[in-house]
Symmetry: C2
Subunit: 169 residues, 2 copies
């Protein structure tokens, strides 16, 4: 479905900043960890800044850091900052309005897809950046996090989630 890795990259970026604590990170540094171009990172940082998740400073000695504590940033905040559309789309071209099904299916589907979106948002709202950091380094403190919730994940997809298309070739 989704051909976009924007959410994954955004979580990665913000996790780096949570990890770096208050130290501002340069787009080059972040790009190196994400393994992409620094401009891609800067574009994303602009979106994250618009949603007040990071603050950036231009000029020498500049860089970006979190706008608030990791426990105050949910994955839903991140999702909404970088993904514009819901998880499914409707028809590319509108269905035939002369067909009794075609004329009405759109609104029925809209309701269904809104339900799906809400379910996704509920899951993401229940996890914070702090939880992600805690799972990254379980030895570190952060005892009052909700990271246990993450452990309770369901079954695996049949189709393995690959980290890269290059792996497929």
């Amino acid at each position: 479905m989704s051909t976009s890795s924007r959410f994954a990259v955004a979580v990665h970026v913000l996790t780096l900043m949570a990890w770096a604590d208050e130290e501002p990170l340069k787009s080059e540094q972040v790009a190196e960890s994400v393994n992409t171009n620094a401009v891609v990172i800067r574009r994303m940082l602009c979106e994250l800044a618009e949603s007040n998740l990071v603050v950036s400073q231009t000029g020498s000695m500049g860089g970006s850091k979190l706008a608030r504590l990791p426990e105050k940033i949910t994955l839903l905040d991140i999702y909404q900052a970088v993904e514009s559309r819901g998880v499914f789309s409707l028809h590319r071209h509108p269905p035939n309005p002369d067909c009794p099904v075609g004329v009405n299916i759109g609104s029925v589907l809209n309701d269904v897809l809104d339900e799906v979106d809400s379910a996704v948002e509920r899951v993401l709202a229940n996890m914070t950046l702090r939880d992600v950091v805690s799972r990254l380094q379980p030895c570190t403190g952060a005892t009052n996090s909700k990271s246990a919730r993450v452990t309770a994940n369901g079954k695996r997809k049949q189709v393995a989630r690959l980290q890269s298309v290059s792996v497929r070739n």
Copy 2:
């Protein structure tokens, strides 16, 4: 996120067949309602047939119809038949393995994304094709459907879900 309308089209196609009752529909007829090419429909019907949701017959007087009653087909069945991947993807290229965050973020994200996928599947499993048909024509019987559930959908997305990109221009 999703650039694919496959799920929406698949629900539309199967709704037409539920509407047509036992009458087999030709791919041309279906294509006319969906407003697309008949080959696109036939491709999708092949996938739906592989998942045992429809049966098709070749030759003159041929066509496709549901393989079982609409109340025995959930939206999850349809989703799994036509959408191969989960709702989010990971990085296009693997992150830097020399970075403590980069090397571990993939597995943390996988857990999160599995949770999201499960939530989506739970929603879709709770609605059947019969429910969709009921919502399409509220005057018709089908009193024992779960269609009331659909009404309880959450808030609307900020970005309206458009039926067509052409509307944007």
